[in-house]
């Protein structure tokens, strides 16, 4: 084969590899959300109450223990499940009983859910309630929060449920007066009611 043809084949092979690499190294384009949509995330990391309350040891019980293990109270590890319901503008997005993590159901309840939403103003109602077993049994500290927020296109609003508070992250909670004059998205802490 002629030298020119050989060079052409070599160049062709290298060019084919280069084109293949270049074509898929940065594209084709991919969108996570449709145009005009944002995302709402419900992130729960909440330590629920124990299934049975801690019990104070009697003096006799303490004396029966080795000296280095004479604690004042003993607590069983198992914690209650958490009932969570999130409604957006009256429409229920999420309603589920969530089990605690851990082999002995002794950890926090963790859950992260995401929904793409059209941009706009929303009112979210969050209800959290500890449950024991299959039957919902209120433990006396149910949480009910109403959050109003404006979701802009491409924005990621997060309802972050912690141990003691519910926060709206990355967007402003419009049920509360603006605290940041610069207009930046703020971390909005809220006492539970």
């Amino acid at each position: 084969m002629r030298r020119g043809a050989r060079i052409l084949i070599r160049a062709g092979v290298w060019a084919a590899l280069a084109v293949l690499v270049a074509a898929f190294a940065s594209g084709p384009e991919f969108r996570l959300l449709p145009d005009g949509h944002g995302q709402l995330t419900l992130a729960i990391a909440r330590l629920t109450d124990r299934v049975r309350p801690c019990r104070q040891l009697t003096e006799a019980e303490r004396q029966a223990l080795p000296p280095t293990r004479r604690v004042r109270e003993v607590c069983e590890r198992e914690r209650r499940a958490l009932f969570a319901r999130l409604a957006l503008d009256g429409r229920v997005l999420f309603e589920r009983r969530l089990a605690p993590s851990g082999l002995h159901d002794d950890g926090r309840v963790y859950r992260i859910e995401r929904w793409p939403l059209p941009a706009g103003e929303y009112v979210a109602e969050l209800v959290l309630d500890a449950v024991a077993g299959e039957d919902r049994v209120e433990n006396g500290t149910p949480v009910s929060r109403t959050l109003a927020f404006r979701l802009e296109p491409g924005r990621s609003a997060v309802i972050d449920v912690g141990d003691h508070e519910v926060e709206l992250l990355n967007v402003a909670d419009e049920t509360r007066p603006a605290a940041d004059p610069a207009g930046r998205p703020r971390r909005q802490g809220a006492d539970e009611t």
């Binding site: 050989r6 062709g12 290298w14 590899l17 270049a22 990391a45 993590s101 950890g107």
Partner: protein
Amino acid sequence: MSNPAARALARFEAGVSAGFGHARNPFHYLGALTIGFLWIALVTGVYLFVFYRASLAGAYASVQVLSEDQWFAGGIMRSVHRYASDAALVCLVAHLLREAVRGRFRGPRWFSWVTGPPLIWIVALFGVTGYWMVWDELGQYVAQTTARLLDALPLFSEPMSRNFLADAALGSRLFTLVAFIHLVGLPVVAVLAIWFHLLRVRYPRVNPPRRLWAGSLVMMLALALAAPVESHAPADLARVPGPLQPDWFYLALFPLAGIIPPAAAWAVAAGGTLLLAALPLVPGGRTGTPARVWLPDCTGCGYCADDCPYGAIDMVARSDGRNFETEARVNPALCVACGICAGSCPSSSPFRRREPLTTGIELPERTVDGLRTELAELAAADCDLLVVGCDHAVELDRLDAARTGSIRLPCIGMLPASAIDYALRRLRFSGVVLAGCADCDCHHRLGERWLAERIDWQRPPALRERVERERIAVCNLKRGQHRRLAREAARLRRRIAQLERNAGREAA
């Protein structure tokens, strides 16, 4: 190699060989090219790391400084780093597909096959951690999706995704960890995995030829200059990243995790890997009876053990009381009956007068005695040109030339060099054409190389000096190249005719 896909592949590769030559055909070095591209990625990565700041605030800015303020060095390095990583994955997948199409996963090759798919995971992890480190919108997407995927596994007590809810939740330590994994952890694991992959491959080719090295580098540089890599907008956890221009080589499965549950995405990826790894269990691919050692002819020279591509022969202490230290012992589990050991045995000489001819080590189904008989039959049939081929190379049955006899062996490496001498001197063939697998693409990896080295006096047992090398044509070709074989045979005939005319003149 009888399936249509393998034949089509051979034809395509023959076209590529027309430009590169068989010995430098990039398709013969896909594994070595993968390692070569990883080397390029490693060297450029070391340069990039010098300027990289592993922190939430510094990661994106430091990469931008590399790309913009020193585009002539850091920018090109970054682009070459990215493209070399992509090319490594392309070559790795092409290597895997090529071996699968050619059925090179059966028998003793199962180990190399099974240890291959994990390498895809390791290389993919390089990509995932590398994109994360840039901490642009694509890095954010990779980090968030990786976290979602990891959360589906029982690995962490607290979901990793909680780190990516808002910027305030993210710490710089995570970047230090990812940088450590990318720069230290994964390279160490990759080296170990490659070593493991090649553990049962004797004389592995881990470096491509220099010209392929040069071609790779030039291609990478040209690509880096023509399409320099750019970052997306900086990561902002308050926003959903997008639109993205992902690297589909590394991130092709990531969108899947947004469509199906992460656990299902893991099932797809793990199931695919397991299916690949299970290919050796597919029935088929007949392997002949393993080689047999004939102790009366074995002197314990060890040539067969040196030459066996599969490491199927061990030299062990002598068991028959003869005055030799060792004898060959075949491990039937590793032997694929290629016959290369018979070609390397000094006693496989057809000149020996013993009837039937025995040799130190040979295939029970394809003996050296049988080879000698076949040669004699061809000579008696008035053939003056001998073509020796193999089961996996160019088709000899499509060679249509007068007075040309052909013999097919399991591998061209099975042909003892002395058999060439025997055919030319004793049986009066005028020339011998050796038509094994294309250079550097022997089905049994080393057969054509060993025979060439024996002819060139580089490997024992070598072809005797008295044999006129002009009467031998080494014509290693792929399937479908029978016309070229015919041309080469005709050319050898002309050369021999010229030789004989010259000899006649000298005699006169």
